[in-house]
């Protein structure tokens, strides 16, 4: 809804969309590298920019049941990972509101 410009990040390392290099996140907002996605290794970020969020749905993961939304690149629509809306396991609550980007779908941009 409405027109908005893409955001641009600055920092030591910037991750962008593998297809169109749109800025997504910086290493400064990375929380963990120890995640796995559909395409292998994935990173957990505190915040990302320039993504569209899909509809929420419940997904059974290795760490328990979560409500998640897939996230897509705002420019090219590439699926990039997902966002945690809700964690059923109390031990996983820290993920709520945070984002997963799959490493194989990212490129370094500067």
């Amino acid at each position: 809804m409405g027109m908005s410009y893409r955001r641009y990040l600055s920092g030591a390392r910037i991750y962008g969309c593998c297809k169109c290099r749109t800025h997504l996140a910086t290493i400064h907002s990375m929380i963990s590298r120890a995640f796995n996605g559909q395409h292998g290794r994935a990173y957990l970020f505190d915040g990302v920019v320039n993504v569209i969020e899909g509809e929420p749905n419940d997904r059974q993961m290795t760490t328990g049941n979560h409500t998640v939304r897939d996230i897509y690149c705002v420019k090219c629509g590439q699926t990039l990972g997902w966002k945690y809306d809700y964690a059923y396991e109390p031990s996983q609550k820290y993920k709520e509101g945070k984002y997963i980007l799959e490493r194989n779908l990212l490129v370094d941009v500067q």
């Binding site: 809804m1 409405g2 410009y5 996140a25 907002s29 990302v48 569209i52």
Partner: protein, 720 residues
Amino acid sequence: MRLTESDIDSALSVSLDSTIDTEPPFSAGPSNGHNGISTKSNGVSVPYTNGSSSKGVAHDGLDGHISTRNGSSSVARVSLPGRTLYDDSYVDREEFVRLVIQSLRDVGYMESATTLEAESGYIMETPEVAEFRRCILDASWDSAEAALVRLGVTEGEGLWEARFLIAKQKYLEYLEAGKTTAALHVLRNELAPLNPELDHLHALSSLMMCSDPADLRQQVGWDGASGSSRRRLLMDLQRYIPSSVMIPQRRFATLLEQARAYQQSRCLYHNVPLRNQSYSLYTDHICDRNAFPRVTTAVLSVHEDEVWNLEWSHSGRFLATASKDKTAIIWRVELDKDPRYRAYAPEFILRDHEYPVGCVSWSLDDSILLTASEHRITLWNSRTGLKVRSLEQHTDVVTALAWLPDGSGFISGGLDRKIILWDADGKLRDSWARTPIRVTDLQVTPDFTRLVAVGMYDMMPPPPDAAGAGAGVAGAGAGGAGAAGGRVAETRIIIYDLSTKQPELSIRLEGELTSVKVSQDSQYALINRASENGPPAEIHLIDLSNGRVVRKYVGHSQSKHVIRSCFGGVEENFILSGSEDGKVYIWHRETGVLLEELAGHGEGSVNSVAWNPANERMFASCSDDRTVRIWEAPPAEALSVFGAAPAERVDQERDGGHEMENGKLSGKGKGRWDAGPSGSGSGSTSTAGASGSGSGAVGGSSSSPDAESGYGLGSTTALF
């Protein structure tokens, strides 16, 4: 109170008989600069009579009536108490009457003026003033200076400058007449001794080299002895003479003009040109709100997704709109027709954009329309709807397109930090140094001196201790507009000198800057500032000479979208803006008073607004609801019949199938916006529009921007 006979006698003697046919007619004696009648004793007015008249008017009767003799009318002087026009006013009667006399003479009522002088006992000006004026107008230069001194111009700065002005005129007139020797004499013996600045004297002496009088007049910007130059000199000399002695030209008219300007400044809905019947001295000027464009007279719904931007052609006969649906549309507007029967046909739909279209810009002669879609600029022939060429120099989103004031080319700006100057046919002419900001909008001032750009810096990483605080923020915007870590990007206005391409001023602001418009006088810029995580949304009017905020306009909402504003109306008296609450906002520019919040658009933001350059009572707005609305004054019959709510009625009448309910269009027949000819093209217009939104309200998410059908697959298709 009427005077006794002998007073009348003395008063009349001032001007009648001897002066009635003279020109200028104020030969009479006393400059009694005040209502001095009471100071004169009955019958001893001898010093003021000019001899000849006393015989004629004397002892004519005791009732003070006007006597006539030898074809000249005599007027009794009226003595009034006090010095003011009315008992309770501050207006000095003498001043007032003298201005009236001046006005009468200006328009040619000579006898009335003379009569008024006689009746009031005030004269417009003394013979010395008349003499001085005659000296200047008749080029009696030698007497002019003496006359000037008699008017009370004292030695010193004033007299020095006045002398110089007179000598300069004299010099120029000699030169014009080819009397070089005389001119040289004036230069050496009159101008030079006054010790003007050396440059000035050199400039004057170089005029000796002028080939002919025409050349001279052109070089000096002077219209010669037979032109208005002597009257201009008189006006210039005016400032050295006390205004009570020589009344400034057209003084009454000046005061009336000031009154008009004041009334206009208080007229919040002021929107009529100066040369207009709506001004009368009888009443204070006030514009009727009902003559102000504040109702929708047409809804243009052909776009299949959000409409993001729009611009009128300079002729006001075409409107270009840019949409998320990857097209731009050129609409034809039947400007001459009655609003009720006016059709808005899409002249061309400009396809062949790979991404949504963000801005459109008409060339000065309206022959070319530029569109920007992502990093690509496209030139379109606006008369054929055909693509001329695409420009690919930008490496990121092109956010602004601005034609140069002379039409020789245009400037583009983008998020890639590039500002590029192009020829009118799209040849790259110049590329500026990388800008510190990612440009989100820019404009060139109409006087060709400055470029005003707004934009943002890249977002800095959040400080380590703030990590986590912004969790979840990014999710807010559907467009991914949320800030990582809750940080707001720093933004800036940069005012460039267009000739040097160097920044003159750089102003830091908080909140995204999404729109720049420059006023017609090139003095001010209008800038939208979003409120994201920060202070409320505001529109700033910035003085370009010093960067100061002159006025702020508030009330609308803008937090995450690109919302644009514009100037509008006669003398750009209004500020308009879109808003994320779906309304159009209009402020009075001078006072910042919010005049109108116009509802009508459906769900989502009103993204941009534009005032028609050829019709001061029409503007357009575009919205996420996929439509463009045309706003005009309520039609007269709608006002009389339906009173307060004319907008709905107008919409229903115009749009046929449309039904307006609380600003939302109900589903049926929604794409059908016009009752025009229904060829195959327009038929499919209706189909495409309806299929795009299903039965929901406008702006529903079920739309598919790709569901284009009916127009054909070429780059452009004319519809009607």
